[in-house]
Subunit: 263 residues, 2 copies
């Protein structure tokens, strides 16, 4: 904690001082992932405050996504087992750097059992999707909606939109896994993607996302939108992935491109 | 809204049905950014419920970061003016695609007044930073801490860490803007970065971040960590950026790399 926040907590209400002290212990590893917090009775005694104040402090940490209540046992430090979400893998299966290799390995889903549910629909997409696909009003899209689980826990939602007129006759319309990938099917149809633009937004989940992803309190999501373009600049796919913050780290590797000049 | 969530809201408590209806109107643009929501009295009458229920529904939207209370005038749809955070600009000033060009332009800070505050410190960095810089226990780092404002609003926090032994004698130690960039200084010192690994985490802010970034309720942050490596694989810089979700979109462009095989 820096000097500024230490000063502030001196003036802060008691419940904030308690939650700040616990937060600090979680941050520095004194209370590691999975550890049980001191009980309400412990905290009441230690700080000489009422049960209500202690509950407010603990509620603070629950809302911040740091702590999980497991009644009647007590409160526990939330486990984060982030898995790497690596959009670049789409165009480059193998990382180019040893650093990325090591990073992916460290945050892999090794030994965990993946599963997914696929559903295909024909829709008039929301305006933000239609705009990215450059669809005219009324033009339809095919969407492949997937929920992915690991060890029975929902990991992310992934919806891929395609202009209906180019994929209508293809296996993209079948609600099954495409082993060689939808990108390869697009390429076979004459629409190979050569560039993509990724956008990452950070926000609170919608009630529907909370339900489908079984999100706990204080769990924001990353909202990743990838638009893929052919060499002619035609957008042929928009993939929207909703990534619970407690289960993912989004990662990219970059290379210096000397053709751009001195720096 | 899909069929599943429609069914759910049929069983949902009244306050959730109200907040869901308002959420829907915000999502589809019936209530655009900056618009005032119906007043508490309006909602009380329209739904035939008590004031407490209406307040709970509005509180829901505030906590989700969708609505801002501006007492005594009422509740307003939150404005999101996301600016592009484009880590690749570090190694490649100009986007390679027309799509990225257009995207950056659309989400630029045009006409808004930037300002920053820089502070330099010598620290024993937190374990996660020390690990990325491959520092031995006790080895020190120099950190340049920046807060960036736009139009008087704090936009993000950016802390860059360097192994102290390589930057000790350089202008990186001076709390001033480096026009040609700290990366160029590193290069002059013989530590040109040629690759970087980016990690994006999504989480709720700490109390300190809430304070420094003046975050409203329901505003998660993106926590972006960039580690830069020399050609020899030595990490020479770790830049940590805290990006309020309501003010940023993180963006990358990608290119297909055919040397990787068929897909």
């Amino acid at each position: 904690m820096d000097g500024m926040s230490a000063m502030r907590s001196g003036r802060a209400p008691m419940y904030q001082q308690i939650s700040e002290a616990l937060r600090q212990q979680i941050a520095d590893g004194t209370l590691p992932a999975g550890a049980q917090l001191p009980t309400e009775a412990d905290l009441t005694e230690r700080y000489g405050v009422g049960r209500g104040t202690v509950r407010q402090a603990l509620g603070d940490l629950v809302n911040a996504g740091l702590v999980v209540p497991q009644r009647p046992r007590g409160y526990f430090v939330r486990e984060r087992r982030p898995m790497v979400f690596r959009p670049q893998a789409e165009f480059r299966k193998r990382p180019f750097s040893a650093e990325m290799d090591a990073f992916v390995l460290e945050h892999s889903a090794d030994g965990r059992e993946p599963r997914q549910l696929i559903e295909v629909a024909i829709v008039e997409p929301a305006p933000d999707i239609a705009k990215r696909l450059q669809l005219e009003p009324g033009q339809l899209a095919a969407v492949r909606r997937r929920i992915r689980w690991l060890d029975g826990e929902p990991f992310n939602l992934n919806d891929s939109y395609f202009p209906l007129d180019i994929v209508r006759e293809s296996e993209i319309m079948r609600p099954e896994d495409i082993t060689r990938g939808a990108n390869e099917v697009l390429a076979e149809l004459g629409y190979r993607q050569v560039t993509a633009l990724d956008e990452v937004y950070v926000r609170m989940p919608t009630p529907d996302e909370v339900h489908r992803l079984e999100l706990g309190p204080g769990t924001p999501v990353g909202y990743h939108v990838c638009t893929g373009y052919t060499a002619e600049g035609k957008p042929v796919r928009v993939a929207v992935t909703v990534l619970p913050g407690d289960r993912h780290v989004i990662s990219y590797e970059r290379r210096w491109e000397p053709q751009d000049g001195a720096e």
